[in-house]
C-alpha cells in the first residue's frame, strides 16, 4: 500500500460528508449523473474505433517500426534513447497501446532502470493527443483545430527531452 492509494478514498469520504452537510440526496444525484455515461460512450464510439483502426494498421504494416528506425538518430541527438522511440511515436495515438509498451519496457529493462523511469515521466508529460482532440470536439460543430495539435505535439516533445534529462539527474 502506498500513500497515493489513500488519496481518492479520502476525497470520496470528504465528498459524502459534505453532501450530508449540504443535505444533498446522494443516491438520486449519483443516478442522475451516471445516466449520462451510456449516451456519452455511444456518441464517442465511432471516433475511438476509427483511431484504433488506423493505429492497428500502422503497426501491422510495419510503418511505426520503420518510422522508429528512421527517427532514432534524430531522437538520439535530442537525448532520447532508441529504446523509447516506439513509445514516443505511439503515445499521441493510443492510451492502452502506450501502456502496453510501458509494461513491455518494465519487463525488458526492469522497472527501476533509467529507461523505465524516463518512460514513466514521458507517460506523465504526454497525452493521447489525437484521441483527446477527436473525442473532445466530437460533440461540437468544430472541424478545424488550427494550431492545437502541433502545439500539443511540440510541448510533448520538449517534455520528452526534459524527461530524459531530468531522470539522469534525479
Amino acid at each position: 500500500m502506498s500513500v497515493s492509494d489513500y488519496i481518492l478514498p479520502i476525497l470520496f469520504v470528504m465528498l459524502f460528508l459534505y453532501c450530508l452537510y449540504k443535505r444533498v440526496n446522494t443516491y438520486d444525484t449519483f443516478v442522475k449523473g451516471a445516466k449520462g455515461a451510456i449516451k456519452l460512450v455511444v456518441d464517442i464510439f465511432p471516433f475511438i474505433a476509427s483511431i484504433l483502426i488506423a493505429v492497428a494498421l500502422l503497426r501491422v504494416s510495419g510503418i511505426t517500426d520503420f518510422l522508429a528506425q528512421l527517427l532514432s538518430p534524430i531522437f538520439n541527438a535530442l537525448g532520447i534513447p532508441t529504446e523509447l522511440c516506439e513509445l514516443v511515436l505511439l503515445r499521441p495515438f493510443t492510451g492502452s497501446g502506450s501502456y502496453g509498451i510501458l509494461e513491455n519496457i518494465f519487463t525488458t529493462y526492469g522497472p527501476d532502470s533509467y529507461i523505465s523511469r524516463c518512460a514513466c515521466v514521458i507517460m506523465g508529460c504526454s497525452e493521447t493527443i489525437f484521441y483527446v482532440a477527436t473525442v473532445y470536439i466530437s460533440q461540437t460543430k468544430v472541424q478545424k483545430l488550427f494550431y492545437a495539435i502541433p502545439v500539443a505535439l511540440i510541448c510533448s516533445l520538449v517534455g520528452t527531452i526534459l524527461a530524459c534529462l531530468v531522470c539522469k539527474i534525479m
Binding site: 449540504k22 449523473g33 520538449v158
Partner: protein, 192 residues
C-alpha cells in the same frame, strides 16, 4: 484530421496489400472490437465519475473549486461565463490527479459550452486541448500503480520528475497558444 486519417489508412493498406493482404480486414475488425471493449470499460468508468461529479456539483463543491481556480482560468482561457469556468475547473483538476478518464466527460461538456457554432475552434477550445495534453500531473496514479506491480523498489520516485517536467510543458503550452493567438490576431487586424 480528415487528411491525417486518410494518409495513415491509405499508406498502411497500400503496404499491407503487398506484404500481408489477408491481415487488412481482420486487423480492422480486431481494432474495432478493441474500441468496443474499451468503450464498455469507459462506460463503467464514466458512470462512476459522472455520478461523483454530479454530487460534486449538486453539493456546491464544484462552484467552490471553480471560485478557487477562477482567476487562473479567466486569465488562461479568457472565459467569462461562470458555468463554463466551473466545468473547465473540474476538467483541469481531474487531469492534475492523473484521472484522464474522469476528465474526459467534463472536457466534452466544456467544449460544447465553448462551441460558437462557427465550425472553427476558438482560442479557449485550443487552450483546453493543449492544457489537457500537457497537463500538470500532481499524482500520476496509473503509472505508479503499473510500476509497483512490475516490482519496483520505489515506484513513487517519479512523482517529482513528472511534476517538474509537466510544469514546464504546461507553461510552455500556455505561452505558445497565447503567442500564436496574438500573432494571428495582429495579422487579421493588419488585413482589415
Amino acid at each position: 484530421m480528415n487528411i491525417f486519417w486518410f494518409v495513415m489508412m491509405f499508406l498502411s493498406i497500400l503496404i499491407l496489400l503487398i506484404t500481408n493482404p489477408s491481415a487488412v480486414l481482420s486487423e480492422m475488425i480486431g481494432a474495432s472490437a478493441d474500441a468496443l471493449s474499451l468503450c464498455i470499460e469507459l462506460c463503467a468508468v464514466y458512470a462512476v465519475w459522472l455520478g461523483i461529479m454530479e454530487m460534486v456539483e449538486a453539493s456546491g463543491l464544484g462552484e467552490k473549486l471553480a471560485k478557487l481556480l477562477r482567476p487562473l482560468i479567466k486569465k488562461i482561457f479568457k472565459v467569462d461565463d461562470g458555468e463554463t469556468q466551473k466545468i473547465i475547473a473540474l476538467n483541469v483538476s481531474a487531469n492534475m490527479l492523473g484521472l484522464g478518464n474522469a476528465a474526459t466527460p467534463m472536457g466534452i461538456r466544456a467544449m460544447q459550452k465553448l462551441d460558437d457554432g462557427s465550425g472553427k475552434a476558438n482560442f479557449a477550445m485550443i487552450m483546453l486541448i493543449v492544457i489537457n495534453a500537457t497537463s500538470i500531473q500532481l499524482l500520476p496514479t496509473t503509472v505508479i500503480g503499473l510500476r509497483a506491480s512490475a516490482g519496483s523498489q520505489n515506484p513513487a520516485d517519479i512523482i517529482i520528475p513528472t511534476l517538474l517536467v509537466t510544469f514546464c510543458t504546461t507553461v510552455l503550452g500556455i505561452l505558445l497558444v497565447h503567442t500564436i493567438h496574438k500573432i494571428i490576431h495582429k495579422k487579421a487586424r493588419a488585413k482589415k
